[in-house]
């Protein structure tokens, strides 16, 4: 998993980073709410951990902005006061979970591991974007006509579709597309991306993938012509 931590206290942020990396996850640190919003707009995270009390932009405002922009990443809020009002406000603003300070890092790590298991266990339903419907279960793409996808194409496209308009690095796509021990490289990824581009074009999807051969790759919507018969 890829995790964003928004925490303004440098020593605590560092502690969290070490603990999370020890779980085998990757982590980015934001030292205020605005940096968190900027990072989340550019990268695809599986979980975001947001402190409420932060300079420049507080965690609640950052969360509201991200949700408004359509970001549906799982969010854990860190609330300073153990007051019910604070937790309610956080959940109402779009948080999925919260922990009250002082919290146990061990417990936070256990929650991340639980989310990781859940992510791997449950497939998502069909995803719609522009005129395209993508069904990961059926490995099927439908726009003007329809076509099938291979398993690797399905995993790569799923990450791109969940994060439109973001430049996703080749390393991250390789991580979701192939088992880590497979030894897949950027050429494998490029072939898979080429398949996806051909298939999207062939079914007249108003969606394509941009990017040079070495990545990063970005899924974008294109202006479709609506006079097809």
């Amino acid at each position: 998993m890829k995790i964003l931590v928004a925490e303004d206290q440098a020593d605590l942020a560092r502690l969290l980073q070490i603990a999370i990396e020890r779980q085998g996850f990757t982590v980015d640190i934001a030292n205020n709410g605005q940096v968190a919003v900027d990072l989340a707009t550019q990268h695809a995270y599986d979980v975001m951990i947001l402190d409420i009390m932060m300079p420049v932009k507080d965690g609640l405002t950052a969360l509201k902005e991200l949700r408004q922009a359509g970001n549906d990443t799982y969010v854990i809020m860190l609330t300073a006061m153990a007051e019910i009002d604070d937790r309610v406000t956080g959940l109402d603003a779009g948080a999925d979970d919260y922990m009250t300070k002082p919290y146990s890092i061990q417990e936070l790590m256990a929650r991340l591991r639980s989310l990781d298991r859940r992510d791997k266990q449950f497939e998502t339903g069909p995803i719609n974007i522009a005129n395209l419907t993508f069904d990961p279960q059926e490995q099927r793409l439908v726009a003007h006509t329809s076509v099938r996808l291979g398993a690797t194409e399905t995993r790569v496209l799923k990450l791109l579709l969940a994060n439109p308009n973001k430049a996703i690095p080749a390393s991250q796509l390789l991580q979701v597309g192939w088992e880590s021990t497979d030894g897949a490289d950027e050429t494998d990824l490029w072939i898979t991306v080429s398949y996806l581009k051909q298939k999207l074009a062939a079914i007249d999807a108003h969606v394509t993938i941009t990017g040079e051969q070495s990545g990063p790759f970005t899924l974008i919507t294109t202006v479709g012509n609506h006079h097809d018969d």
Partner: protein
């Protein structure tokens, strides 16, 4: 009386002549346009049945003018882009004009059928049903990939077989199969591009 009237004798001659012209055309290209071709003159009973179905009088005029597939040739190509290259070449011919075209590759039929259909009007040395010499005849050209062709032959079996168990299930499986074959066609085309890209580099 033959449904094709006096023109019946010319149809096989026109078909053979067209097959020869297309074969020459194929050999004149730097890379061949199609893998193989297959032609036929529509059998009389099929043409009579078609006229009935369409509500046309059973006459030579209906068979050669209202229906435009008395003569038909199928061009089977290796890759999807070869289909489009071939269509472009056919549109440039000085001995035939494109009357209608239907792109069932871009607009696949709901059952999964994929092919490119062209009706050509061909000028021949033989008299036609309207009494003109040289005469004009319609020819249907179907273009598809090898994968689309094998799918179509299987679907044809389903269409003409009576009393099969679970026809909806079979139709659904055929539809899925058409999507998987379309995926393979696109993947092979992509691989072809990658090979040529490496040659250029």
């Amino acid at each position: 009386m033959n449904i094709y009237g006096d023109q019946a004798q010319y149809l096989p001659l026109i078909l053979t002549d067209l097959e020869d012209r297309l074969t020459d055309l194929n050999q004149a290209q730097p890379t061949k346009l199609y893998e193989h071709l297959i032609g036929r003159v529509k059998a009389e009973p099929s043409m009579i049945e078609k006229c009935h179905r369409k509500g046309y009088p059973v006459t030579a005029h209906s068979a050669l003018r209202e229906c435009k597939d008395a003569i038909a040739i199928r061009l089977v190509c290796r890759f999807i882009e070869d289909v489009y290259t071939t269509v472009a070449v056919l549109k440039q011919l000085d001995w035939a004009q494109v009357v209608t075209e239907k792109d069932y590759i871009k607009n696949a039929k709901p059952n999964g059928y994929r092919s490119y259909h062209l009706i050509l009007a061909v000028t021949t040395p033989y008299p036609d049903v309207d009494g003109h010499t040289p005469g004009q005849y319609f020819v249907e050209i179907q273009l598809r990939t090898i994968a689309m062709d094998s799918w179509a032959s299987l679907e044809h079996e389903l269409k003409y077989k009576q009393n099969i168990d679970h026809p909806e299930r079979i139709a659904k499986e055929l539809q899925r199969c058409a999507e998987e074959l379309a995926a393979c066609d696109l993947q092979m085309q992509t691989i072809r591009h990658l090979i040529h890209q490496d040659e250029e580099a």
